[in-house]
Symmetry: C2
Subunit: 179 residues, 2 copies
């Protein structure tokens, strides 16, 4: 049984649950003996993109770097999970086009009202107060995917339910070695 | 037979033959069915480090990024070959310390006189003329490894000979699945 790599590209607002969900999916996959790597937005910024701002150009550069690394892993049989906001449609399309492995876009769809009310990291409050000048959903657009492979509604579903949806898609796509 | 990943870290002056040798090693390994990825200095600068200068600080950042990506690949069973000049000892030591897989430093040892006389890319001439302000070996130090796992003398050896030395080391280290 040869494992097929792929890119599992989570996208969604800050606080929508990308990191939590990607870790839950990764845990499940590891338990099944699948090679998986999570490229979390914050971790990648620290290791690959320190010094970049949150301007559109720098965000695009950051996303390109994540895509570059995810592709390297995926072509060697790893399920590479990315969990950056990646708010712009065009650059996500570019990441998909350049991927040498299957590219599965997972829209972590939580309404702004919900994530702002939760405000786990207190960032929305700061963004509303103008303390963070560029912030997705507040002062910078989030362009929702038009045709994501998977949509999870983290405002309504449990993490277990959302995780199942993602795993179900991988299974049906034949990416877990057994369909 | 489970393949063990590792980092094969080439270091040496510009023009010493790092790219040529790393491609030759990669070709041999691929022919043996080994998963291998070359992170070439120029390619990595384009994809991970565009905008960085050649100051010590930015060079260190570039090398840290290469090490980060090489480690991700190596821990998933890939032989990750890096081929950047990586002139500073301390940052190579850091890359080694952070690696979660065996780290094999390959000193591509060609005398400055030899690589400058060849000057394949015409860079040494420009560096001597002051057109390139910071250039390893001319206006910036190259700190040779003190205890590299492999040393190849590309000024004296053929590419085939140097390639064999590297493969021989991998075999003896048990990193090719059969000792």
């Amino acid at each position: 049984m040869q494992q097929h790599g792929c890119i599992l590209w989570f996208t969604g607002l800050s606080g929508a649950g990308k990191s939590t969900l990607s870790e839950a999916v990764a845990r499940e996959l590891r338990a099944q003996g699948v090679a998986v790597e999570v490229l979390d937005g914050d971790e990648v910024r620290e290791n690959l993109s320190k010094g970049l701002s949150f301007s559109k150009e720098d965000r695009d550069t950051n996303v390109r770097r994540i895509a570059f690394v995810a592709n390297l892993l995926a072509k060697h049989g790893v399920i590479a999970i990315t969990a950056a906001i990646s708010p712009y449609r065009a650059i996500r399309a570019e990441a998909r086009a350049k991927s040498q492995a299957p590219f599965i876009e997972v829209f972590v769809d939580a309404p702004l009202a919900v994530v702002e009310a939760r405000d786990v990291k207190g960032l929305y409050k700061k963004a509303r107060a103008g303390e963070i000048p560029v912030f997705t959903g507040i002062s910078d657009p989030y362009e929702a995917p038009l045709a994501p492979e998977v949509t999870v509604k983290t405002g309504e579903e449990s993490i277990a339910q959302s995780t199942s949806k993602v795993l179900e898609h991988l299974r049906h796509a034949g990416l877990l070695g057994s369909v």
